[in-house]
Amino acid sequence: MLIPCPYCGPRDVSEFTYQGDANRTRPDPLSTDREVWDGYVYDRLNTAGDHREYWQHSGGCRSHLLVVRSTLTHAIVSAGFARDAATKPKKTRRKAGARP
């Protein structure tokens, strides 16, 4: 599998570390809502199809990437810096990990 790092170009998957499901947002640190935190820490969608996930280019520029990958074919639909996605204002706030 090749992941197209926006800084380094396409690189073999062995240069990357899977850093988890990207369909979740870290709750407000002050939140004490147990359900929200449980969702963030434990709930995953287990998508069959295009899946949003984080990969760190640990063997390259070390950036975290937001990758959309088909779990059925390994085809990479898109890859960008996770930082760019994280700094964009969020329009809707879905409960972390909840089903769409």
Binding site: P6, Y7, C8, G9, R11, D12, S14, E15, G59, G60, C61, R62, S63, F81, R83
Partner: protein, 195 residues
């Protein structure tokens, strides 16, 4: 100040090795720069850091990911978004960069002891490095002056093409001896000269 002790130790054996006939396929050198420094920009301050590198080291970095430049004694190239490795054969570069970079714009990290610089040059430099790194070393994909961050298994490395057939590699000091040993092994096929 005392000179740094090379991490290569007994693995550094000057002279010709491997295949003995003809010109050596590669020449392997530990270049032992006095300064290896990381200059990192906070988001939005990349231009300021590039200007600071120009001011402190006299090197004009081109735009773009992995862009870099090299002179006989100095080099700089991008290793990650907003991060640059700046190298000088002389000591003291970290202090000059610190003076040129405002704390709100970026950070300077001295890696002069933490990274070991190894030069691989010669007609078979690409062939030998292709055994170790899964990156495209062809000049069309890795042009002169450019830098690349990659790894050989557990060994992270920064590669800088400083001449058409010359690559400067920066690896973690603790792994330098292992990496050097692997490099020598990979170079035996084409014959190599350690200088």
């Amino acid at each position: 100040m005392a000179e740094q002790v090379s991490p290569l130790g007994p693995a550094w054996m000057p002279g010709r090795h491997g295949r003995a006939d003809g010109e050596a396929g590669v020449v392997l050198t530990e270049t032992r720069p006095g300064s290896i420094v990381q200059a990192a920009a906070f988001p939005g301050s990349e231009k300021a850091i590039i200007a600071a590198i120009k001011k402190a080291a006299g090197l004009s970095l081109p735009d773009g990911a992995g862009g870099g430049i090299a002179t006989d004694t100095k080099a700089a190239f991008g290793i990650a978004p907003g991060r640059f490795l700046v190298v000088d054969q002389s000591e003291g570069l970290a202090d000059r960069l610190r003076a040129a970079i405002k704390p709100a714009e970026g950070a300077v990290t001295d890696l002069s002891h933490g990274r070991t610089a190894i030069r691989v040059s010669g007609p078979h430099a690409e062939w030998v490095l292709a055994k170790l790194f899964a990156i495209d070393l062809d000049p069309t994909a890795f042009p002169l002056g450019a830098g690349r961050a990659t790894q050989h298994h557990d060994i992270q490395a920064h590669l800088h093409r400083t001449a058409p057939a010359c690559f400067d590699l920066y690896v973690f000091r603790s792994l330098a001896r292992s990496f050097w040993t692997m490099l020598c092994h990979a170079a035996e096929e084409v014959g190599y000269d350690v200088r």
